[in-house]
Structure formats: C-alpha cells, structure tokens
C-alpha cells in the first residue's frame, strides 16, 4: 500500500493496490482448497469413527489413536468451515462448485466403503458407508440450496439488467 495515487498526492490507496487485494481475496483456488480440506477432514473423522464403533475389543492404544484421528479430523473441519464463512466466503457460483465437489467426494467415499465392506465383510466398512450416505444426503441438499440461491440471484440480476438496459 505504498504507491501514490496521482489524483491524491497525499495518497489514497491506488486502484492497483485494491486490485491486488481483490485478486488475493477472490482467489478461487484457495477457496476450493478449503472445500477439499473440509471434505477430507470430515471423511477422515467419519471413517475413524465408523471403524472404532464397529471393531470389537480394540487395544487401548488403538482406541486412543482413533480418538485422536477423530479429534484432528473434526478440528480441521471446524477450521475450514470458519475460514469459508469468514475469510474466503463462497459466492453463489462457488457454492455450486463446492456442492458438486461435496457430492462427488461423498459418492466416492460411499462406493469405496461399500466395496471394501463387500470384499472383506467387515462391519466397520458398512458403518462408514452409512455415515458417508448421511454426508451424501447433506451434500446433495447443499448443492440444491446453492442452485436455488444462484437462480434467485441470477433472475434478479437479469431483471435489473432489463430494467436498466444493461447486458448480462
């Protein structure tokens, strides 16, 4: 913020400065990174929880390890939700992209867990698939909500553009 705006010798922040701020703040890559972190950490916590609940007579050290994995997974989940709500907020288009990522991720998670369960006959895999199913429902609902919000805004934008004689 050290450049000087010729219009303000004293100097308001120059437009290029603000453009750089926009570039950093609006970076799609960083947003999608946090969406991926959210999905991955949630998946890890769900998998560890399912295995812990369904494996009988686990050694104490293994139980501690699962508990730690769940805590770590949920901590990253909370952190990424906080970032996406306060620092890298998702705009309507990005909600749809995030929703699609969530549906794809949870679908792969469910199919993989079912395949493992079918191949190994382990209850833990089926429990993980059930948890994944719940996450998949949440992801689909999130995607539908994202589409509704986007359509509502796009409709309003187009209506205003017509009123104002602008192109969209």
């Amino acid at each position: 913020m050290n450049q000087t705006n010729p219009a303000h010798p004293g100097g308001s922040p120059t437009l290029p400065d603000v453009q750089r701020l926009l570039d950093a703040e609006l970076s799609l890559r960083s947003r999608l990174g946090y969406v991926a972190l959210l999905l991955g950490s949630l998946g890890m916590a769900a998998l560890a929880g399912a295995l812990w609940l369904t494996e009988p007579a686990l050694p104490f050290r293994t139980q501690v390890a699962f508990a730690l994995m769940i805590v770590i997974g949920l901590s990253w989940t909370v952190f990424s939700v906080w970032v996406l709500r306060h620092r890298r907020v998702l705009y309507a288009r990005q909600h749809i992209v995030a929703g699609r990522m969530a549906v794809a991720f949870t679908s792969v998670f469910v199919v993989s867990a079912l395949a493992i369960g079918y191949g190994s006959g382990k209850d833990g895999a089926y429990a993980a698939a059930a948890l994944g199913g719940v996450m998949l429902i949440g992801a689909v609902l999130m995607l539908l909500r994202g589409h509704r919000a986007f359509n509502r805004l796009a409709e309003r934008r187009d209506g205003l553009a017509r009123e104002l004689g602008r192109s969209t």
């Binding site: 913020m1 219009a7 303000h8 004293g10 100097g11 308001s12 922040p13 437009l15 400065d17 603000v18 453009q19 701020l21 926009l22 703040e25 609006l26 306060h86 620092r87 907020v89 998702l90 705009y91 309507a92 288009r93 990005q94 986007f150 805004l153 796009a154 309003r156 934008r157 205003l160 553009a161 009123e163 104002l164 602008r166």
Partner: protein, 188 residues
C-alpha cells in the same frame, strides 16, 4: 428526472452491482471498486485526517466489503451498507487508538432555522483544515452528508441514529466550523 426517480434508478444500479458481486462475478467487484473507492476514501480521509491511517482503514474496509457482501440482504441499500462498514472500521481504529474513547455528549437542535449553509456545502475540501479540527462526531456527519452520495435517511442509517439527530449534528457541526473559520479568519 425527479429526485425520487433518480434515487430509484440509483438504488437499482446499486442492487444490480451488489447482486452480481453476490453471484461471484469478478467484473462486478472491479466495478464496485471503481465506483466507490473515491467516495469511501474521501470519507475515511476526512474523518481520520491522516493519510496513513486512512489508507489502512480503507484497505480494511475493502476486505470487509469483499467478505461481507454475500450477507447483504437488500442490494438496493448498498451505499449505506458500504459507508456503514467504513464507519465501523473507523470506530474500530479509534477504539484501538484510544483504549477508552471519550463519550461525546450529543444534544438535539432544531435545524429548521438553519438554511444559510450553502457556502459550507459548496466545497468541503477547501475547508479541510477547519474540518480536521472538529470533533470526530461532527467531522463525520459533515463529511457523510456533503459527499453527496447519501440521502439524509441513508446518513441516518449509516450512523445508526434517527434523521432528526443527523440534522442536529449537522447544525452543530456547521456552527462549530463557522466559529472556527471566523476565529481564524478563514473564509466560510
């Protein structure tokens, strides 16, 4: 074009811009900055009366705008929302600077008789020095009102006070500025 229809058109323009930002259109953010950077700078600069402080506050304002615009419910209220954010950023800055900000006693005045203010309204920039010597509350209300970007009702919305209180603050601010100008021999 009447004032009402002009105001209605401005409100629709503002909403169009806000909605496009909420959709995530990069071009809309560029337009938002191009349209509002200067008015926000003038407001923040006059209230802080310091270039460096104003630069920092304005950067903070833009960060808050970019992160907060998804939560703006009525796009037609974009401009009071923007100046409201600028005001909160300024207040936060003042709170940081003075751990316990002095409360400014406010009194209501009747503005009805105060109609001879055209000279003050013409060029606020030329009175920058006198303006900088006013208390923050008065400096703020004069700046907001004479930026000519906000209606009286919108200034009231930004400040979070009734329109009558805005009028009384304007009255008092102009009186103080006039006294200051008279004392120091600057033309009003």
């Amino acid at each position: 074009m009447t004032d009402n229809s002009a105001h209605g058109l401005e409100a629709r323009e503002d909403e169009w811009l806000a909605v496009r930002c909420q959709l995530g259109e990069r071009a809309a953010f560029d337009e938002l900055v191009a349209r509002w950077h200067e008015p926000l700078w003038r407001y923040v600069r006059r209230v802080t009366a310091e270039d460096e402080a104003a630069r920092e506050v304005l950067q903070d304002v833009w960060v808050r705008v970019i992160r907060g615009i998804v939560r703006l419910r009525e796009g037609s209220k974009l401009r009071p929302w923007l100046f409201g954010i600028a005001r909160r950023a300024l207040m936060d800055r003042l709170r940081e600077r003075y751990a316990t900000p002095a409360a400014v006693p406010l009194q209501d005045f009747d503005l009805a008789a105060d109609q001879d203010t055209s000279a003050l309204e013409e060029d606020l920039a030329s009175m920058q020095q006198g303006l900088e010597e006013l208390p923050v509350t008065e400096r703020e209300v004069l700046t907001l009102f004479y930026l000519r970007e906000l209606s009286l009702a919108e200034v009231a919305e930004v400040l979070g006070v009734p329109a009558g209180t805005v009028k009384s603050r304007l009255f008092r601010a102009r009186q103080m500025l006039r006294r200051d100008m008279d004392t120091k021999g600057r033309p009003v």
